[in-house]
């Protein structure tokens, strides 16, 4: 116990010392309002920050005291969450957590926190569907010294999915009919073409298996009808980043979509991935990468020719493109790549379900979801490629494993964590300082980008302990498991949720409490290693 008191004292000490030290204050004002915008050719009232979508890019230097005054001019509460930033719980911006009450209409809330890190992050509303309705923006935290990632040009590339509908209506429509937005449901024609290509027997069996489960093979995206944007611009408006041939260009990709995964490529350019979720990684050369809602990737490219290069981000349901251009001057436009075929889900996307009485070939057992249509010979980024650029400080073995089952009922549009919606769930309690493994198991047929507030997790991606990459979002593909490690070194109440907005709004969220617990309260159930002792220092198991 004494050790933990020391930790607290040390922590308080650090705060007092650091706040008395000289630090630069960087201040911003954000005014949140519902104002008319015209992106798709139709004037719509959306949620804007300082009148625009996206909200302004906030730039800080590591060590800054950030002071952000957020004024709510709407007639409903709002809030802003600083996605990926390590900060005190009360500044994290989730109403109902850490005594934060949201920002009522007409009021100004001042967020104050220290910038303790560097990298590309973002911010968005954490109230109802305001993020879908336009409230998102980027954050750049520059190193106080020289940036190890050197580039002549530096652009933020915010991807988003813009709907002409209001988020409340989208939520209602999904509850009315969960396939409301499905535009690629299997037809009788699809069945007969399967009969032709696979034979009647196989086609019938497949249809029977999916029908038996009452699930759809085409469920890649719950919401459609989006216009996909780059930095708030439609493909027609074509956001353009200027370069001189031979220059090194840093692109900070942020997926600020509410619901859309993208496959990103720049035909003609190799991308060197240098940062993931704001944290520097050892460079990986790729031709394309898949980015989930709320993930960020920084890449370096070196366009050599005097021409336009198209940045193409294609949603995985292939219903369009977010398009931007890298060009040597304004007004240039490159070719728009051909849409790739839409993947079909397979039995392999159905983990945790009883498939013992089904007849399946090895091809059926593969994941349909992960088929990106990457051309042969091209390299797509994989989580296992990511190696932290620094050296992880905490390489302790986890003291215990916490199972996190991602579940849902697609028919009723209910999404759960460990079989509970947020409205019914008990928090996950972690002891301050403890090292745990979170083992996510996806029992559904959709991928879930799981986001933990307040702390980075380390992907257990097969790299050595000191090289595991830090992430604030981890994608758990359909039917699969993925584990991460976590050092619970930030006290507070932290939201953990699926970053598909309408999954979160339907219940896929839980609370993680990091606090100093009495020894007898440390949960001991379901622990795989049976640890969780109050002695601290879990290194020798």
């Amino acid at each position: 116990m004494r050790k933990h008191h020391l930790v607290v004292v040390a922590l308080l000490g650090t705060i007092i010392i650091s706040s008395s030290a000289h630090a630069k204050t960087t201040e911003y004002d954000l005014t949140i309002d519902r104002t008319p915008v015209n992106i798709t050719g139709k004037t719509l009232v959306k949620v804007t920050a300082n009148g625009g979508i996206p909200a302004p890019t906030l730039r800080f230097v590591e060590g800054d005291d950030a002071v952000i005054h957020v004024t709510n001019k709407m007639s409903e509460d709002t809030s802003i969450h600083w996605h990926g930033l390590i900060l005190p719980g009360g500044m994290d911006g989730v109403p109902g957590f850490n005594d934060f009450l949201g920002i009522p209409p007409g009021e100004t809330f001042t967020y104050r926190f220290k910038i303790k890190q560097t990298g590309t992050y973002w911010y968005h509303a954490h109230s109802m569907g305001q993020e879908q309705d336009g409230l998102y923006g980027s954050i750049i935290a520059a190193p106080s010294g020289k940036d190890p990632i050197e580039a002549e040009r530096d652009y933020v590339v915010v991807l988003s999915d813009f709907s002409e509908e209001d988020s409340d209506d989208i939520m209602m429509n999904l509850k009315m009919s969960s396939d409301y937005y499905s535009t690629a449901r299997r037809t009788l024609g699809d069945f007969f073409s399967d009969v032709k290509t696979q034979g009647a027997d196989k086609a019938w069996k497949t249809a029977k298996e999916w029908g038996d489960m009452r699930m759809s093979q085409t469920d890649l995206a719950d919401v459609t009808g989006y216009t996909f944007l780059v930095n708030g611009k439609s493909p027609e408006q074509n956001w353009t980043g200027i370069f001189k041939p031979g220059e090194k260009v840093r692109l900070r990709f942020i997926n600020a979509s509410a619901m859309s995964f993208f496959d990103v490529r720049i035909p003609g350019l190799k991308m060197s991935v240098v940062q993931s979720d704001g944290q520097n990684v050892e460079p990986v050369k790729v031709d394309e990468f898949r980015i989930s809602p709320a993930e960020t990737y920084d890449v370096l490219v070196t366009p050599a020719e005097d021409r336009a290069y198209t940045i193409a981000a294609e949603p995985i349901d292939r219903t369009g493109f977010a398009i931007a251009t890298l060009a040597t001057r304004e007004g240039m436009k490159g070719d728009i790549p051909k849409a790739r075929p839409r993947a079909l889900l397979k039995m392999g996307d159905m983990g945790g379900m009883d498939m013992s009485d089904m007849e399946m070939t090895p091809a059926d057992m593969k994941s349909g979801w992960s088929e990106a249509g990457t051309p042969a010979g091209d390299k797509a980024l994989s989580y296992s490629d990511l190696r932290y650029a620094g050296i992880q400080k905490d390489t302790r073995e986890p003291g215990r494993t916490i199972e996190v089952h991602l579940g849902g009922n697609m028919e009723r549009y209910i999404w759960t964590i460990n079989d509970k919606k947020f409205s019914e769930a008990e928090p996950i309690r972690l002891k301050y300082g403890e090292r745990v493994r979170l083992n996510f198991t996806n029992d559904t047929m959709m991928a879930h980008p799981m986001h933990l507030h307040g702390m980075f997790v380390q992907l257990e991606n097969g790299q050595p302990a000191e090289k595991l990459p830090n992430k604030h979002v981890v994608v758990v593909p359909p039917g699969q498991s993925y584990s991460v490690l976590l050092t619970a070194d930030e006290a507070g109440e932290w939201a953990m949720h699926c970053h598909l907005l309408f999954h979160m709004m339907s219940g896929m969220m839980t609370k993680v409490v990091v606090a100093k617990l009495d020894a007898e309260d440390v949960p001991a159930t379901k622990d795989t290693t049976g640890a969780g002792s109050a002695q601290g220092g879990h290194d020798a198991h």
Binding site: M91, G96, L101, E411, K421, S423, E490, G507, A515
Partner: protein, 246 residues
């Protein structure tokens, strides 16, 4: 509270100006709001199908309005259906049920059904509704009339897509009776059944015109009663209609 928590974060960073009690209330309200907004919300769905058509004898107009308001678990389920033949109200039912989600795909229901026509009659209603394997939308209900008569109704339908907008929906319905109900001209056993095919074009998911053809027939004793009254014991109806979801 089983667990004593010392929130390091809150003692370091928060200095609320409000009186502590009011602040605690606010936090409670906010936490409740947060639950409402993440899985505890109230939604609704209503579907109205109205159509007009003909059988061998004349015109038939019908409506079927059905839907719910409530949470994922607890809903008020409302339903009204009826028919006008040659402009005269022939059948009209109004239902109000409490609907409880009891399994992934199923709700159990209990409440009242009230018939305005052909006879004014109230029924205690028990049943379930949901999605059976192979996507059969299913409704099964048991009715106990004021006189203590037991009857039941089973309905199933399924959607087959020709395109993303053009949908074939075959459906079947059967009415059963545990005993003879002379005042309603119903015999014991399978009383009547209907099979039909609705072909709709979903201009949007909420607005879909359709054509409908169905064949209905009385069976057994019910059929004999109809015949002895000089009535037809079957009918073929073709109609056009509109389906709205709201």
């Amino acid at each position: 509270m089983r667990i004593k928590i010392m929130m390091i974060a809150s003692c370091c960073t928060l200095s609320l100006a409000q009186p502590a009690a009011a602040a605690a209330d606010n936090i409670k309200d906010k936490a409740e709001e947060l639950r409402q907004e993440h899985g505890g919300g109230i939604f609704h769905m209503f579907m109205l199908e109205t159509d007009y058509g003909r059988n061998e004898d004349g015109s038939v107009a019908s409506w079927d309005w059905e839907g719910w308001v409530g949470t994922d678990e607890n809903k008020l389920w409302l339903k009204s259906e009826g028919e006008l033949t040659d402009g005269k109200l022939a059948e009209a039912e109004i239902w109000a049920l409490y609907s409880r989600n009891v399994a992934t795909f199923w709700d159990a229901q209990a409440g009242l059904r009230y018939d305005v026509k052909p006879d004014s009659q109230a029924y205690l209603t028990l049943g379930f509704t949901g999605l059976a394997p192979y996507f059969f939308e299913t409704e099964a209900h048991l009715f106990i009339s004021e006189n203590g008569d037991f009857t039941g109704r089973l309905r199933q339908e399924n959607d087959f897509l020709l395109t993303q907008k053009l949908v074939l929906q075959p459906y079947a319905e059967a009415n059963l009776s545990a005993q003879e109900v002379p005042e309603q001209e119903i015999g014991a056993g399978l009383a009547d059944a209907k099979i039909g095919l609705q072909t709709r074009y979903e201009i949007t998911r909420k607005f879909a015109p359709y054509v409908d053809v169905h064949y209905g027939r009385k069976f057994g004793e019910t059929s004999s009663i109809a015949k002895s009254n000089g009535e037809e014991n079957d009918e073929l109806v073709g109609s056009v209609g509109l389906r709205l979801m709201f």
